[in-house]
């Protein structure tokens, strides 16, 4: 009886494999075919020709694929007009652009990399860069002209002494404040000479205005924590990058000051008081005095706030420290040589050409990562905020997150620990000791 079932199974299996058109059920062989199957028909025909040594003049028409997340949520048309400008200059290069929402961008990318069908060039963020570079997925960018790019941003995207990515844009974090609430409380507006203690005083004055009005919101999470730690002179990893220093006295003092705003003075709402809502929503409702947040908030706040607001460089403590975020453009190491050349042209155009920079600024998208600030002068003319030059002032005190391959795991461990401190479940010291222990246990630093 049993034998019959088995013979049935094998029969069906044989038919199945025959029908599916492949002699072996072994999926491993997929990788040998992957590069040619990759993109479109144009791509396939291009790869049939020996296109490796093409120069610009004799270039064969080529189609490359480009994936990004940055244009999702309203800037797809902007990206498209950049491409039109590029295609005019390089009529032989066609770029197929795919825009994927941030939430699933990296899942999609990783799946395609594993399957051997990753796009020829794509966007990368600072958090994932080291992991991708260390796996040999990214091509070294030998042909790109990097001279006009912001050097801090550029240095964030080199790995093992090689340049693997071109920064395409950057954002910093500044302190946004609600002018109307400052007026109501009868206190002075923040200036660049403020420290965190001045912020605390102002926050308390605003908190006193009403039960549902709060002074400041600086989420107690990994991202804010490593910056505030730097404002206290601390850091997460020792300078030579060999060990974690998460529970240093400076870091504990930094976390203590963040937690006090929630637990002690309550100038910052607790998780319960936030009720699961977003911090921007709270600011937009006019019930929040200050919020350190990214310059990408300008358009949204201009649209949504019916009160006066302005910005200032984020106050520090023993020193100033401001966030620096950058997205970068990379080339797939598996792409054909011709595609690599074309892809470098395209990403260079996106990151450093004057045309792209102009389109980017005119759309109010974000800032191109150029070193020459004069190119960005048109950016300063848009108001609100009036004090827009604070964005450039903040560039003087940039702090980069530690570039390690297990970045996400480290940031999750630390976020988890500091949020325990924020809810009062453990003291800042206990929380950071625990984070230090878990990081040492689960992450090996190179």
């Amino acid at each position: 009886m049993k034998r019959k079932t088995i013979s049935l199974l094998t029969q069906v299996a044989i038919v199945a494999t025959l029908l599916s058109g492949c002699g072996s059920a072994n999926p491993d062989t997929a990788q040998t075919e992957a590069p040619t199957e990759k993109v479109t028909e144009t791509e396939a025909s291009k790869e049939a020709e020996p296109a490796a040594e093409t120069t610009q003049e004799t270039a064969e028409p080529i189609t490359i694929t480009y994936a990004n997340f940055n244009a999702s949520g309203g800037n797809e048309a902007t990206l498209d007009s950049m491409y039109q400008a590029f295609h005019e200059q390089n009529p032989d290069i066609t770029v197929e652009i795919e825009t994927i929402a941030m939430d699933d961008y990296f899942t999609t990318l990783q799946t395609r990399i594993a399957g051997g069908t990753a796009p020829d060039c794509f966007e990368m963020n600072i958090e994932n860069f080291a992991a991708y570079a260390s796996k040999g997925i990214l091509a070294e960018l030998s042909e790109a002209d990097t001279s006009s790019l912001n050097q801090t941003a550029l240095s964030a995207f080199s790995y093992g002494g090689k340049q693997y990515a071109l920064p395409e844009n950057f954002s910093t974090v500044i302190l946004v404040y609600n002018k109307d609430l400052f007026d109501q409380a009868g206190i002075d507006y923040p200036t660049s000479s403020w420290t965190r203690e001045d912020v605390d005083k102002a926050a308390e004055a605003i908190r006193a205005l009403g039960d549902n009005i709060y002074g400041i919101y600086q989420p107690v999470t990994y991202n804010e924590f490593y910056k505030v730690a730097a404002q206290y002179g601390g850091s997460l990893i020792s300078e030579d990058g060999s060990k974690f220093t998460i529970n240093s006295p400076e870091n504990i003092a930094a976390l203590q000051s963040m937690v006090d705003r929630v637990q002690k003075t309550n100038v910052q709402p607790t998780a319960e008081q936030m009720g699961g809502m977003g911090d921007w929503d709270l600011f937009e409702s006019g019930r929040l005095g200050m919020i350190p947040t990214g310059i990408w908030c300008f358009n949204t706040f201009t649209e949504a706030c019916d009160f006066a607001w302005d910005i200032c460089v984020e106050p520090g403590q023993t020193q100033k420290a401001t966030h620096f975020f950058a997205n970068a453009l990379v080339v797939n190491n598996d792409a054909s040589d011709a595609a690599k050349v074309a892809a470098q042209k395209w990403i260079s155009f996106l990151s450093s050409s004057d045309e792209a920079a102009k389109i980017r600024l005119d759309a109010g998208w974000d800032l191109p990562a150029l070193s020459d600030m004069n190119a960005l002068s048109s950016y300063l003319e848009i108001t609100p905020p009036d004090n827009r030059k604070a964005v450039f002032e903040s560039l003087d005190s940039l702090v980069l997150p530690p570039i390690i391959t297990d970045y996400s795991q480290m940031s999750d461990i630390i976020s988890n620990a500091v949020s325990k401190a924020a809810s009062g479940e453990s003291s800042p010291e206990e929380a950071l000791n625990e984070a230090q222990k878990l990081c040492e246990e689960q992450i090996t630093l190179q």
């Binding site: 069906v12 199945a16 062989t29 051997g116 992991a131 991708y132 796996k135 040999g136 809502m277």
Partner: protein, 299 residues
């Protein structure tokens, strides 16, 4: 040809499409995932024929998983969810089915209305419930407030976060199971009820002695499906609490996804899913054994 053999031959054309599908879309991926669970592969490299031998680590992932607290705490969270979700979901689905079965006025409208949550995507449903449950701005707590009480801090308190997720899940699922059970009720031969009536049985008595046993295959399907789905609880948690507060709603599939696609530990994630699989399988097998006690098939 024996009768059995003939039956098998007759069955082959009917089974063929789904069987091929199973081999390609289920069996092969599972074999690959099994092999991966014994490696330290990151998942951030092209998969080749050498991937598995090059990264082979034996049972190391399983040992690490079983000795770390994380696995057990996520299992516990899922069990907490199930203990709340299944009884509440069953109760409300049953009520829906019984209400629809009365064939009174408005039941046609209600049939559509009850099903709308089922037709909502998980993303939308979770977002709505994040608002509904918000302690400050939410509907539920403002209703509780009308009675002069203070509602719990649903999603931000570590004891109330999971019940909050259960409410959202029950809201979304009860229409599905409710209509399914309703279909089962309609399939019951009316002569059984007439017989019960002749015997002088009350409505409640009829419900438990006639309806429930005849409904048992339907209920069995609901039970198995909700168990399997409960263990794979994920999108609602991801959107409503992101595993918080302080990891109180961290569940297994969320961890699997994070290890695979955020920490680049595909091998570890594969081992995690294997353990999840074994747990679901064991529970289902227990259910299949138990079904002999309470499920009655007509034929």
């Amino acid at each position: 040809m024996t009768k059995e053999k003939k039956k098998i031959l007759q069955a082959i054309p009917f089974m063929l499409p789904s069987f091929i599908g199973m081999i390609i879309f289920s069996f092969l991926p599972i074999i690959m995932a099994t092999a991966l669970s014994m490696t330290d592969w990151s998942g951030l490299e092209k998969f080749t024929i050498h991937t598995i031998p090059d990264h082979f680590v034996g049972f190391q992932n399983y040992i690490q998983l079983l000795t770390r607290e994380e696995f057990w705490s996520t299992l516990l969270h899922v069990l907490y969810y199930i203990v709340l979700y299944i009884p509440l979901g069953f109760l409300l689905s049953m009520v829906i089915a019984l209400v629809l079965n009365t064939e009174k006025r408005f039941t046609g409208v209600m049939r559509v209305l009850f099903y709308i949550p089922v037709l909502t995507s998980w993303v939308a449903a979770s977002l709505i419930w994040k608002w509904v449950l918000s302690s400050q701005y939410g509907v539920i707590n403002s209703i509780i407030g009308v009675f002069g009480m203070k509602g719990p801090d649903w999603l931000t308190n570590k004891y109330w976060a999971m019940p909050g997720i259960v409410l959202a899940s029950v809201w979304k699922d009860m229409g599905y199971y409710g209509l399914y059970i309703f279909g089962g009720l309609r399939g019951i031969d009316p002569t059984y009820y007439e017989a019960a009536k002749v015997d002088g049985a009350g409505k409640m008595w009829t419900l438990f002695s006639v309806t429930m046993p005849l409904l048992s295959p339907t209920l069995f399907y609901c039970l198995i499906m909700s168990l399997i789905n409960a263990f794979q609880l994920f999108p609602q948690v991801q959107i409503m609490t992101e595993g918080g507060p302080n990891g109180a709603t961290q569940v297994m599939v969320e961890r699997i996804y994070t290890y695979a696609f955020s920490y680049f530990k595909m091998g570890y994630a594969a081992a995690y899913s294997w353990l999840l699989f074994v747990i679901i399988l064991l529970l289902t097998l227990i259910q299949l054994k138990l079904q002999k006690v309470w499920v009655h098939y007509e034929s």
